[in-house]
Amino acid sequence: MIILQTEQLTKQFGKLIAVNHVDISVQRGEIFGLLGPNGAGKTTMLKMFTTLLSPSFGTVKISGFDIVKQPNKVRQIIGYVPQMLSADGTLTGYENLLIFAKIYDLPAKTREKRIWELLELMNLKDSANFLVRTYSGGMIRRLEIAQSLLHQPHILFLDEPTVGLDPIARQTVWDRIIHLSKEYDLTIILTTHYMEEAENLCTHLAIMHLGKVVAQGTQKELKKSAGDPDMSMDKVFSHYAGAEIEIGGNIHGLREISETRQTARRLG
């Protein structure tokens, strides 16, 4: 079952086309990775998915709801963790969850139960009553994921969930994400520029470069279409987004990329 689908999704900031005619579709239960270098347009995509930005062109449907025509329907079924560590440092971990539980209308009777279950799930029970400004980066990330799950969203958007975390913290966050996907059949869309993260976590990937999705599929499919099933993901990535892009390659969109790159160079 398709849970998210974009058609010709485009976002323009003045002259810059941050997201350029993107078509992706995500099936229920996938961990879908948007992989791309800085400035590829990953955050801009997620901001459109989460109704923060409206597209310049094209459409996005989430569980059948149009993000422009039915933003409030969409907002009720999505969870979002922005790129920055954005839990409120001046409140406790518990309070951060409580406020959002109220924002999402969790009934008073089950609210406490739900909050503590999520704190437990994210291994934050012991620090629940400390101010978040005393938390480590990894703890903040886990708190934010808990926050985004309060209302049982159908789909969770994570913008660079492990950026700036040390290897151990990163591992715990990965572990929690996989757990959510397996146990609750939650669809997760995350962005990353860590190859390792894409490889370990994502069932499906879309490789983004200069606003375009240049390839998408399972890791296997991507390797195969890049020409070698035993290729490392690093190689696959540079095959699609790297410096040596061949003009006229058989992958849809490559020609335009090299054109955009030339334009970018001229402008820069």
Binding site: L52, L85, T90, L91, I99, I103, L121, L131, Q147
Partner: protein, 279 residues
């Protein structure tokens, strides 16, 4: 945790809670959640309130005392200090409120704003909830100014209804000016730019009002500006309610009407422009 079971429970609860779905109830509860959030922050760190004691002290004890001795400003049967104390109170609330725009930009830089805007909470609630919390911060200014005024032997009206009235007018003023500040923040989006503009706006608002001198002694052009300045009506009402036997120039009814209308309009504009902060 069993998510299926949870969903079933939620379904039953949903039927019971259907009245909560009414837009007006939803609007009010969400507004109060945002206010609660701000109050919780204040509870964790009340030092901010304490640091705001200084300004009213300076204005009343230095500026006020000096001008009172000079007898330069005609304030009718009221002493100059009694005349200006309500002005100082409104000014403190104005400063608290104008600070809100910086907080909004700060929350944008931290990413907090994005989570609220991607939630189904009504945009109007996000704006009004914050504005009300500016009013609550303003109440703490009232306590400071009242204590100072008592020490200075200004004849205060301590009738409970008069006190309550003062709080209402502080709240309305705070809603107007904090939302005004939020609107500017949503337009400029950069903290440094906001700082300059914030300064630029606060001073004219303050001086083009009846805070520290009556409008009657202003030059004509400034009088016109003062009459469209909500601060003038806020101070007119607070002066009447706060100081014994202080007249209201426009009448409480008009003051209230003007401020309520201004609040509604500005919060409405604010709720339209607030989502821009995420772009």
């Amino acid at each position: 945790m069993d998510s299926e079971k949870f969903q079933k429970q939620d379904k039953q609860q949903e039927d019971l809670d259907n009245w909560k779905k009414w837009p007006i109830i939803n609007f009010i509860t969400k507004t109060l959640v945002i206010t609660e959030l701000e109050i919780r922050k204040l509870k964790h760190d009340p030092t901010e309130l304490i640091s705001r004691v200084i300004q009213p002290i300076m204005w009343l004890l230095i500026f006020g005392e000096v001008l009172a001795h000079a007898r330069a400003i005609p304030t009718g049967h009221m002493s100059y200090l009694a005349f200006m104390a309500p002005g100082v109170l409104a000014q403190s609330v104005l400063f608290v409120s104008i600070f809100y725009g910086i907080a909004v930009i700060w929350e944008r830089d931290l990413g907090i704003v994005y989570k609220f805007l991607s939630s189904p909470a009504p945009r109007t609630s996000l704006v009004l909830g914050k504005a009300i919390s500016a009013g609550i911060r303003g109440f703490s200014q009232a306590i400071i100014v009242y204590i100072l005024a008592l020490l200075l032997k200004i004849p205060l009206n301590l009738n409970i209804w008069a006190l309550l009235g003062v709080l209402i007018f502080i709240l309305l003023g705070a809603i107007i000016f904090s939302t005004f500040s939020l609107i500017i923040a949503c337009i400029v989006k950069v903290r440094e730019r906001f700082m300059g503009i914030g300064q630029l706006l606060t001073m004219p608002l303050f001086f083009a009002s009846n805070a520290i001198y009556p409008i009657a002694i202003m030059p004509r052009w400034l009088q016109i500006f003062s009459h469209v300045n909500p601060l003038t009506y806020e101070i007119d009402a607070i002066r009447h309610l706060m100081v014994l036997n202080a007249p209201s120039v426009y009448g409480l009814g008009k003051d209230f009407g003007v401020l309520l209308l201004a609040s509604i309009i500005i919060v409405w504009i604010g709720s339209k422009i607030y989502p821009n902060i995420a772009t």
